[in-house]
């Protein structure tokens, strides 16, 4: 049983690291601000979720797991909000620049 759990934890950790890796690569490869936001927000959300899930399985049913779960929920709430705000300000800057050129 313990071995089974350990294997599951390792798989989750590797998947989480993979998504963080993809997010970092996307940040470098994508052409502009908005596309970069796509790569970073999505992959970071998923990567953090999987890694925290692995930690929760490792800790079992304890208060620590509950705390980790709350942290996870707050990450999932704030991550898209931050992305939204960055994208909005980038959009407004873009809009202003094109208006000036015309």
């Amino acid at each position: 049983m313990q071995i089974f759990l350990n294997i599951m934890i390792i798989i989750l950790l590797i998947l989480g690291l993979f998504f963080f890796f993809v997010g970092a690569i996307g940040l470098i490869r994508m052409p502009d601000v908005f596309c970069r936001m796509h790569a970073t927000t999505k992959c970071d959300t998923m990567g953090a979720g999987l890694i925290f899930m692995a930690l929760m399985i490792w800790k079992g049913f304890t208060f620590t797991s509950l705390t980790i779960f709350i942290i996870l929920i707050f990450i999932w709430l704030t991550n898209p909000t931050a992305a939204h705000y960055i994208a909005k300000s980038a959009y407004q800057m873009l809009f202003k620049n094109t208006e000036k050129k015309e």
């Binding site: 596309c35 796509h38 208060f63």
Partner: protein
């Protein structure tokens, strides 16, 4: 829900949050949490609840919430796999652009939730919204229109209809 019961609910939630984060059951900790929560509720009493936004939590509401969360989790996984494939492919088959879609919701809270949900779905990122439209940036711009009538939108609309 009146303002008073809302304040009491917030107080209980804050105290529970404090106890979970403290992970101890001493008398000192709980008294400190009690005082801090009471002060937060007292000083923010004017800001806490907006009568138009307040809802009664019923069984149907919880059901709609659970369905929404499951649809959202599924689309998060889908979106991550899709973005990972795009990022790791050699040519990066993207066609980014902006697109406006309709805004199906009325309440500010639900609009915020839907905006966050759009950011988490495949290849879309919400940028700006008002009461009628949402401005969305898409990695592949043709797929943005598919959000209208998708499972996520249906889940959100069901969520709003229950609240009425």
């Amino acid at each position: 829900m009146t303002k008073k019961s809302g304040a009491i609910l917030l107080f209980v939630l804050l105290l529970g949050f404090w106890i979970v984060l403290a992970t101890r059951w001493d008398l000192t900790t709980i008294i400190a949490g009690f005082i801090v929560s009471a002060m937060i509720v007292f000083y923010n009493y004017d800001l806490i609840f907006n009568h138009q936004e307040a809802t009664v939590i019923t069984l149907r509401y919880l059901k709609a919430l659970v369905i929404f969360v499951f649809v959202l989790l599924f689309s998060i996984i889908k979106s991550n796999v899709q973005v990972a494939i795009i990022v790791l492919s050699k040519k990066m088959p993207i066609n980014p652009g902006f697109q406006t879609i309709r805004q199906p919701l009325k309440k500010a809270m639900n609009q915020a939730m839907y905006g966050n949900a759009i950011t988490l779905t495949p290849g879309t990122l919400s940028i700006d919204m008002d009461d009628e439209h949402i401005l969305v940036h898409g990695l592949i711009v043709d797929t943005v229109k598919e959000l209208e009538g998708s499972a996520l939108e249906k889940a959100v609309i069901a969520f709003e209809e229950v609240i009425k």
